[in-house]
Symmetry: C2
Subunit: 220 residues, 2 copies
């Protein structure tokens, strides 16, 4: 059975997955790049960010990259919240915004963007964004269809991940705890009391200072 997977979701010690004050210039708000410092040096990120030519063989291959690199394996589609696609709110306007990722987004699969407002499909390179208003369960059905038998990745942000966890739709959850106290922003864990009862949990600390938690859904 294809699975729904979350990868590389970073939270602070106090459980914030993004900071306060998100904007075009600050996609993580006041958190800046601090939640993703563990990720930037990895071979996976270096390859993903479109600098392949100068970066062949570059990037780390340690614990952090072992986890980071799993994000695309066996994945046939992604679901993301609208806030991951862009900083806008309300009805979409024709402002030329095509996401954060340039002409060749790293997904290279269909991507379902959850939004309450209509927006035409958008194809960039090997990625097509499908904008849809849907419940978590319906969005997942649609994404499984697009994935053609492969897994679906739930790409965030944290509010979307929380909604899918509340609906008990997530099979694999990789959370990275970064030893900082953000103080404000969007919390991941709210409303998820007892989450651990539904999952087996494995934990490993990385030399970089972050801690990787892997939650694997127990058999239903």
């Amino acid at each position: 059975m294809p699975k729904l997977r979350v990868h590389n979701l970073a939270v602070s010690l106090d459980g914030f997955a993004t900071g306060e004050g998100q904007s075009l210039e600050a996609p993580f708000g006041h958190a800046g790049g601090r939640l993703m410092q563990w990720f930037f040096p990895t071979s996976t990120f270096v390859g993903m960010s479109g600098h392949e030519s100068e970066a062949v063989g570059a990037g780390t291959h340690g614990v952090d990259d072992a986890f980071a690199s799993a994000w695309g394996v066996g994945v046939g589609a992604e679901i993301m919240g609208r806030r991951k696609f862009g900083p806008q709110t309300g009805p979409w306007v024709d402002d030329g915004w095509q996401g954060w990722w340039g002409d060749e987004p790293p997904f290279r699969t269909p991507v379902v963007v959850l939004t309450h407002h209509p927006h035409p499909d958008l194809t960039l390179g090997e990625t097509t964004f499908h904008f849809r208003e849907a419940t978590p369960a319906d969005a997942l059905d649609y994404a499984f269809e697009l994935a053609g038998g492969r897994d679906v990745r739930l790409g965030g942000g944290p509010t979307v991940v929380r909604e899918f966890l509340e609906a008990d739709l997530v099979d694999h959850l990789h959370v990275v705890v970064v030893p900082i106290v953000l103080g404000r922003g969007v919390r991941l864990w709210d409303g998820l009391e007892g989450l651990e009862e539904r999952f087996d949990v494995e934990t490993v600390a990385s030399p970089s200072g972050v801690v990787h938690h892997v939650f694997t859904r127990k058999p239903r």
Copy 2:
């Protein structure tokens, strides 16, 4: 210079150091024993709980015990909040309450109990409890005096630890993150945004599933 140290302070993934609904029967509220499951099997706890006779050599000696056992080394006094001493609130009444620990509390040093209400000193075995109303800084001065040149341990609960962290009085902070989502209770990290800037942080995951974080105050 003597230091102020926090040991074995357990928090959930969502940052709660105790659950909701604390009472005589449930000192950790709805969290029950879940925050301390890593601690109970350790040689340190087994020895501490007064079962020495049947427990010589009993208990684990792994990563969790290595951290747990550091709690008393070089410590000459403890500071604790009133809620750690007992579940009562308001003025003290003569109800015979002498703390949770029986005739020989495991501290075996002076203990300063922070309370807004007067209470006579109480000696049990090798431990004397001094009940005082004081600011964190004044309580620490008093405890250092009682400790006679040794370190002072800040014994909790979480609200007290947070107040001393806010006042920047803590030199060593050992926090154990337990991979559960408690959902409600008393949060440790609130109001401590940017705490990591004042500390060096080391992290290790234990085979028991918990993660030990050691915060060491940077030189002032």
